[in-house]
Amino acid sequence: MTASTPTQTISEKILSAKSGRTARAGDVVVCDVDLVLGTDASAPMAIGYFERMGGTRVHDASRVVFALDHYSPPSSAATKGFHDQVRAFAEKQGVRVYEIGEGISHQIAVERGLAHPGMLIVGADSHTVTCGAVNAFATGVGSSDLAAAMLTGQLWFRVPQTIRVALVGSRAAGVAAKDVALAMVSLLGSGGAEYHALEFTGPSVQDFSLDDRLVLSNLAVEAGAKAAVWEADAVLETHLARFADRGDAVSADQGALYVRDVVLDLSPLVPTVALPHLPENVVPISRAPETPIHMVFLGTCTGGRVADYHEALAVLERGGGKLAKGVHLVVTPASSEVERELAADGTLVKLARMGATITMPGCGACCGTSGVVPSDGMNVISTANRNFKARMGNATASIYLASPAACAAAALTGRLTDPRLFA
């Protein structure tokens, strides 16, 4: 092997292509950014930074997108004002705004084909890593970096070392992508992938649908990962088939250097729950302490897609379709496309008839910025990604993270329940 024949990880290849030099883990590179995602929670501050940087024009408005997702609908006078500010800036700059109710920024990016293979994507939202499922390098930044990317079209990066995550074995019935993702976070630990990229590989990747991949990439940031990239394959091809721009697939070289190899064996996995107040506190539901559940949240960029609601509805119907007394079921689709599909196939009306509160698509109750806020002492089971204390807007509530099926099972029984009970 010589210096003239570099062997690179997917992340090194994308950052090389975007910086115009051979990028190796540890290098600091300045890259052209393909897609810049801002939200109503981050763009207002970014506009302030942009103006203080002396910015007047966005470098390339066609590469910038804003999604009004965190305050969907606005839940305070100030957030309504943030929307007006973002809309006014976007109109002046020619930037596309996805309105309240259209969905979560990274969900929109994937389902509308804005994100595709080989891209470098930055979003002022930590869960931008979700877009790694489409063979892109996607990472979360703050508002000042968002402003810099809008102003210059570029951003600097330290090229991350890559942890290769090999998926092997097969999932037992009733084990959801969320259970695999929680197992991954538990295996790596909070911060266990800090500054690192993940690259998913192994014989079982083909068993993961695009939606499944989005869940794993999404949760990767709970282990601190900078990016969480999947290979391009037939599953991705199927997703991309309906879009005109399908990008350029990037694969790792034979002999690329990985800082660590992690094997995630799917075979022994069972339905799990992350106990308060860290996503790494993962235990099998069957061994979790007896816990009453008062609120069930089906939604977010982790668990608010069509397949998630089908998974939840199947459990609810098998269990008789009657919510346990006192349980509040809240449904917030990740996007208007998800909502439309669920409306068309009857899922939403079935959930509504069971008593669910169905809200406008967006981030919803996940971080307490819109939607239902739990009351004092409530236990919430959620398809979301974070169970930090006060995350949903009440420091005395406790949040349990689980699969859509496990959330549905808890809605039926009013307590933490292994969803296989309703298999």
Binding site: V29, S42, M45, G48, S76, D125, A390
Partner: protein, 170 residues
């Protein structure tokens, strides 16, 4: 050379940005001078009122994990805190800190106790962190590359006002 002496404010591991400032607080305002009264309220409701200008945050591993929201850096600065020591930082918080001129120093914080006097001296050879109670001293290498340039400029706004673009240093 710059130097700083301040009182250690001890925090644990995995302090996420929602603990630093709750997402629900910033739906009322982004003004850090108002938000600072809620600094770290999920960890200790009395924390904000007890902060003195010049205090040094001292955390364990993975400080600033979770949301990439930038108020988590600006609210710390607004409270009069200019330095955060941690065993490790979440990368989005680390970038946000540097971009706003808040100094994040990765060092071994295990022996530092609440109230210890911490001195931090920086020059071209690096940054020295001393816990005056124990006498423990750690020299950290200077922050290199573009991050070092941004910090030296006082943050990303003055850096980009001067340079207009990111200038590769290697």
């Amino acid at each position: 050379m710059t130097s700083h002496r301040g009182r250690a404010r001890r925090l644990g591991d995995d302090i996420n940005t929602d603990y630093i400032i709750a997402s629900t607080r910033k739906k009322e305002t982004l003004d850090e001078k108002i938000l600072k009264q809620y600094l770290l309220e999920a960890v200790d409701p009395g924390f904000a009122a007890s902060v003195r200008a010049g205090d040094v945050l001292v955390a364990g591993a993975n400080f600033g994990c979770g949301s990439a929201m930038e108020v988590a850096a600006t609210v710390v600065l607004a409270a009069g805190i200019q330095i955060v020591l941690a065993k490790s930082f979440a990368r989005s918080f680390y970038r946000n800190a540097i971009n706003n001129g808040l100094l994040p120093i990765e060092c071994d914080t295990s022996d530092i106790l609440e109230g210890d006097t911490i001195s931090v001296e920086s020059d071209t050879s690096g940054t020295t962190v001393v816990d005056e109670r124990t006498g423990r001293r750690e020299l950290r290498p200077p922050l290199g590359g573009i991050a070092g340039e941004i910090l030296a400029a006082g943050g990303l706004v003055p850096y980009l006002k001067r340079e207009r673009r990111f200038v590769s240093t290697t």
